[in-house]
Subunit: 329 residues, 2 copies
């Protein structure tokens, strides 16, 4: 492996001079610069980023914490983040917490060990009091989901509005008994979809029965289960606000199998607006989340924090959601 020393030896100059050329410092004579560059070329020299990181304490890897990559919402999010990171010479490390507190902490620990320079939390299981201790080792920002009392930069979506406009739409279509599905922690901001739904219902004088609230709604399989749970009820809902397009898809698959008429007997509203939403039959009405924009905003903020162009300060950047009406409602 060739080092800066080899380049120095070949040219006859010092390591310092070579380093100055590499880093484009001023105060290097044109002749030396030329010769150094030529020697680097000749030797196929490339700086060792590990040594550089040790000396400069600048770390250009960003950890992105998500529940799992096979969830399309998150793979899309990481996709958009990685694209921009790479453009800027930054690296993205995938950290799948599988929604486990302990795994989340394990990854945060990589901040301590300097394996990553900063962390973007796109899901969060631990309380802010626990997470905040890690800030000492690098910037932490939240993207999409965050726990209460978070004092850190936050990029998120207006979940309350999502719950509100979705429910309002179901009501306008004539549905009155509207179920709610939620996934994961009840304690993060995602929960505001629920308050949004409640507000919409209250404004129209409709009730939300306890038995119409379904938890642990993560994926298609959960959607299938929830379909049967709904159908088993004495007082069945005639509309359902789901926590993701996948849950909606699971419900719709079972509805078709059991000849439940959609949307007449059961209107199903998705969340996310994933590509499949418009491809399946019936296509899924859903709340569109601007995933790409959110990822872009988060990674750009992180990059400027790592470059030291900005100080992390508590701020909430909220991106808009909108409704996409298709066949399932």
């Amino acid at each position: 492996m060739t080092t800066i020393e080899d380049v120095a030896k070949l040219t006859g100059y010092s390591r310092a001079t070579v380093s100055r050329v590499i880093n484009n410092y001023p105060y290097v004579s044109e002749e030396k610069r030329r010769k150094v560059l030529q020697a680097m070329e000749q030797l196929g020299y490339v700086p060792n980023s590990i040594a550089r990181q040790l000396r400069t304490r600048i770390n250009e890897t960003i950890g992105v914490l998500i529940p799992r990559l096979s969830n399309p919402f998150f793979s899309k999010l990481v996709d958009s983040m990685e694209s921009i990171a790479a453009e800027n010479g930054f690296q993205v490390i995938v950290c799948q917490t599988r929604s486990e507190k302990s795994r989340e902490l394990l990854y945060l620990n990589w901040l301590k060990t300097r394996q990553m320079g900063g962390v973007i939390m796109a899901s969060s299981e631990n309380d802010w009091d626990v997470i905040k201790e890690y800030r000492a080792f690098g910037p932490i920002i939240f993207c999409n989901e965050y726990p209460p009392h978070t004092e850190a930069p936050i990029i998120c979506l207006d979940q309350h509005k999502g719950g509100y406009i979705g429910t309002k739409h179901l009501i306008e279509r004539g549905h009155t008994k509207i179920a709610h599905c939620y996934a994961g922690s009840q304690f993060t901001n995602i929960r505001e979809r629920f308050t949004g739904q409640k507000q919409a219902l209250e404004e129209c004088g409709l009730e939300l029965r306890e038995e119409w609230i379904f938890k642990d709604a993560y994926d298609t399989q959960d959607g299938r289960r929830i379909y049967y749970e709904m159908m088993a009820l004495e007082n069945r809902p005639d509309g359902v606000f789901t926590s993701s397009d996948e849950v909606a898809l699971g419900i719709l698959a079972e509805a078709r199998k059991n000849h439940t008429k959609v949307p007449e007997e059961l209107a199903v509203l998705g969340f996310d607006d994933q590509p499949i939403a418009e491809l399946v039959y019936p296509s899924i009405s859903t709340v569109h989340q601007p995933v790409e924009k959110m990822g872009k905003a988060a990674i750009e903020l992180m990059i400027s924090l790592l470059k030291g162009e900005r100080e992390p300060r508590q701020q909430v950047i909220e991106l808009p959601l909108h409704l996409v009406i298709r066949e399932s409602t």
Copy 2:
């Protein structure tokens, strides 16, 4: 930030002794070990992995090259890899080449700069002659796709068989005019699906017309386009072997819209067996790829290479494919 020096000072021992405790070396008295551990705890000391990497030359980050993460096949693949990597204390860096040669090289260059210890190529655009130069900087293995003449460990699937059994199935269902879709490079092993299809057709005395071969079939949008291209033909195919479930989905979406009877008028065979394949209507017959197993095998091999437990040698580990019959054929 606390360093090993701080721990040494607090305990009164040397850095060497502290290092021995950290790395569980023998030849440290029980008493000192205890005291060092206690001091580490007290100071909240965590070793700096950058410094460690510089000295030991052991790099525990693995780059995974894929076209894009939002393709479910690849997000699933990276998912399975990351899970096992994390268990072993390794990190996974996502590298989205977007199927561009130049981006692939950019990422491979991170091997030179020591930003990653090894590379798993799950897609490959460049020729082996170009890629092989990078082996000097760390192990490179191929997973799923590889260029001709590759002399490196390869984990892959029996693509030829995939093409063969898929086509055989379509023929058995009574279809005789079977189109083929392919994505990406014509020069990697993925292309063997085509030879598999040809073999099956030849065995049954069927022809494959030039106009039935569709290229650039990556996603749903391409599927839609291909549907119309097929329907525009004088001599329409009555079955199509697609390059992925997503392409199949695109074709099926347009078929429904245009009242083309599936599978009678047009049988559609997917590839991958993604979760959506069984959820949509009609559900998609497809060739199941054991993505998880493949990812596991690749990452485990890479980890043992990086640990120095094995030498990289040219070998091909081929995992089996099988057919899943549903409604679209």
